[in-house]
């Protein structure tokens, strides 16, 4: 058993409205809204690294957990847009936090990286003490490597989030986490060292619409729970249409979905942790409630976690 001791997130200041992208991509704002439900996203300014956002998010999470960086047993960062092959954003984050010594590594799985980082933290923390699980992305830099492609440019935003995972029970306990991957689809969502983002959108949607509900049921079934027993679904904010499709598949109302994709876009690995941090700030992690986290990303890989808020 592990618990979430603190959450934090950080977004760039620069807002990129869909109207701005529509003009650059020769589409209409209405087309973007219909395609993904995103009104605006945040992009980093020149010279501003994702690690700086991760540092802000981590310091907020550490503060809420009443911990200093030196107490961290490990730092795990999910990402898909690290600016170099190695070392990862985790090394920059560790340097910024001034917390040398603890193991620090990246999980390069794009949109599911934050959830995998959290899952690894759950398993690590009984041995190492509190673990910083984070997601950090500079997806705008990936998009801007090549002429903007409307299929991807409308989706992605930059951001970071962090979560302190500590052993034992706490105000928000992790009841179970399940992960999976299928390398058959490795080529359907990939990013070379210098290349453009390769995304077979239809394949991603088809697989995600199947894998996400299955992953969610995989953490509910062993507890004798159904989707109706869940109070809040905090899913990877890939696309508003996908979120609604997952809700339909699970037979739950859209009012149970936490949604911020309209404001921050798809922040890839940071997405599910930013959403969880915002949900916490908005008082949506209510006493006694059950919360589902779920994400889908490169590999393909997917996973879900069941959280229980102390009553």
């Amino acid at each position: 058993m592990a618990h979430l001791a603190g959450l934090g997130h950080a977004l760039p200041d620069r807002i990129v409205p869909s109207s701005e992208l529509a003009a650059r991509l020769d589409v209409t704002e209405e087309w973007i809204l219909a395609a993904c439900g995103i009104r605006e996203r945040r992009w980093l300014s020149d010279g501003e690294p994702a690690a700086a956002l991760a540092e802000k998010a981590a310091l907020a999470a550490l503060s809420r957990a009443e911990l200093t960086p030196g107490r961290l047993g490990a730092i795990v960062v999910g990402t898909g847009s690290a600016p170099r092959a190695f070392p990862g954003i985790s090394a920059d984050l560790q340097r910024r936090l001034g917390a040398p010594g603890a193991a620090a590594f990246d999980v390069p799985l794009a949109s599911v990286g934050g959830l995998f980082a959290l899952a690894l933290a759950v398993d690590l923390c009984p041995r190492t003490g509190p673990v910083l699980a984070a997601g950090a992305e500079e997806m705008s830099r990936v998009l801007l490597r090549a002429p903007l492609a409307k299929e991807t440019a409308i989706l992605f935003g930059d951001g970071a989030a962090a979560c302190i995972v500590a052993p034992g029970e706490g105000p928000v306990s992790v009841v179970d986490v399940r992960l999976g991957s299928d390398g058959t689809f490795a080529g359907a969502l990939s990013l070379g060292h210098d290349g453009p983002l390769e995304m077979e959108g239809r394949t991603v949607i088809l697989q995600a619409s199947r894998k996400l509900p299955a992953a969610i049921r995989s953490v509910l079934d062993p507890q004798g729970l159904s989707p109706a027993d869940v109070d809040l679904f905090v899913l990877h904010q890939a696309n508003l249409n996908l979120l609604k499709g997952v809700a339909r598949s699970l037979g739950v109302g859209e009012e149970k979905l936490f949604v911020n994709v309209d404001r921050v876009g798809n922040t890839s690995a940071a997405s599910v942790l930013i959403a969880l941090s915002e949900a916490s700030e908005q008082g949506l992690l209510k006493p006694g409630s059950r919360v589902i986290l779920a994400a889908f990303g490169a590999g393909f890989s997917w996973g879900a976690a069941l959280l229980r808020v102390a009553g």
Binding site: A35, E200, R202, T203, L206, Q207, K211, L242, G245, S249
Partner: protein, 79 residues
């Protein structure tokens, strides 16, 4: 039109953004009949219509790109 084709057209109809073509070999994607999310819902509709669950490994767009491919897939699965 075969009974299977009629069943397929009926299953796709709720999710079609424009009229479904008569040409069974026309790409439903290139014509704009189905977008990504329409495809997601259409597969669920086809599964219900044929009483067949599409395994995850078969869940790739190319299997559902044309009326002919859809018919081939579901009739073989249902057999």
């Amino acid at each position: 039109m075969t009974p299977a084709t009629e069943k397929i057209r009926a299953a796709l109809q709720p999710f079609a953004r424009i009229p479904i073509p008569d040409d069974v070999d026309a790409s439903l994607f290139e014509l704009g009949v189905l977008d990504s999310f329409g495809l997601m819902d259409a597969v669920a509709g086809l599964e219900e219509a044929f009483g067949v669950k599409v395994p995850d490994a078969d869940l790739t767009p190319r299997r559902f790109e044309t009326l002919a491919k859809i018919e081939t897939y579901f009739t073989s699965r249902a057999a």
